[in-house]
């Protein structure tokens, strides 16, 4: 994995340099105009957030039911990234909404559930930080719960009548606005690669922290 880090970093940097050019040259959406260009970062941020929570959920399950310490390290790393990318989505959304809807925030199903999902993963990190010994297992349960509720957040716009656009916007993009597909695809790929890179770096940090903890324990056991 370490050998992949540098080439992936170069590709990601190139995509992030290319994306703004494509976004700037993409056509304006007919009713929203310039502000719609937040779409190219807002939706990929949620994609990265969902990648994080899926990784966290799977790794949490592996840790809880198989007891693999490496899975726990992956889970906590993914949970942190879920919070970071969720925060980007939660901040860029209201900035878009202020212009498009005339309001910063509306307590409607999608926005409220997205905020709650973010808070579940903030809760995961708080359990890890302040829960004391054994909090890893409790946090793993929180991670699985957060992942289990996430599909409801995704489909909430289709179930309830909300102000937020439906999930069909992105799948229908090639038909409704084919010129918007290249910038969106490049931006999405850049976000996913950035997520992978940040996850690799964070897992490495978790590994070194585990090594340090083991050394401390060995040092204490030796009685010195």
């Amino acid at each position: 994995m370490k050998t992949l880090f540098l080439p992936l970093s170069v590709v990601t940097a190139a995509l992030f340099a290319w994306a703004p050019l494509l976004i700037a040259n993409a056509p304006f959406e007919s009713t929203m105009g310039l502000i719609q260009k937040i779409f190219y970062f807002h939706v990929p941020a949620w994609m990265a957030m969902y990648s994080g929570l899926v990784v966290c959920g799977v790794a949490s399950a592996l840790y809880l039911f198989r007891g693999r310490p490496e899975a726990d390290r992956v889970a906590v790393s993914a949970a942190e990234l879920t919070v970071v990318f969720g925060l980007v989505g939660l901040v860029t959304g209201p900035l878009w909404a202020r212009k498009a809807w005339g309001i910063w925030w509306e307590w409607e199903p999608r926005l409220t559930m997205a905020l709650l999902l973010e808070l579940i993963f903030v809760g995961y990190l708080m359990v890890r930080k302040y829960g004391g010994p054994g909090s890893e297992k409790l946090a793993a349960a929180v991670g699985i719960f957060g992942t289990a509720v996430s599909p409801f957040v995704y489909v909430s716009v289709n179930i309830w009548r909300t102000i937020h656009p439906k999930t069909s916007v992105v799948p229908e993009l090639p038909r409704t606005a084919p010129e918007m597909v290249p910038p969106f695809a490049v931006s999405s790929l850049a976000f996913i690669l950035l997520f992978v890179l940040m996850l690799m770096a964070r897992i490495e940090l978790a590994r070194r922290q585990a090594t340090l903890d083991e050394l401390y324990l060995a040092h204490e056991d030796s009685g010195s």
């Binding site: 937040i38 202020r98 940040m198 770096a201 340090l212």
Partner: protein, 87 residues
């Protein structure tokens, strides 16, 4: 003269009554693009704020990883030196 005063008075009355009337109710949707410039929000600052926030969040998070890695490495090195057998 009386006619002029009466006419002025009537005009002033009419003007004040007209000013006191509520504006005509809007009967149909008006696109925001047709609204007066003062009532339109500029999009560019919001767009720049969104992109800037993303950059700050990512760079800030990467900085915390880098800082934590340095701290753990320093602790690892100190602990290894401490536990190294003395000759």
């Amino acid at each position: 003269m009386k006619t002029l005063i009466a006419l002025t008075f009537a005009l002033l009355m009419a003007a004040s009554v007209a000013a006191g009337q509520p504006p005509a109710a809007q009967s149909e949707f008006v696109p925001l693009s047709q609204a007066p410039a003062a009532e339109q929000l500029p999009a560019a600052p919001l767009l720049i704020a969104a992109y800037s926030f993303f950059l700050v969040a990512v760079v800030g998070y990467l900085w915390t990883i880098w800082r934590r890695l340095n701290k753990v490495d320093a602790e690892l090195q100190a602990l290894r030196q401490k536990t190294r057998p003395q000759h």
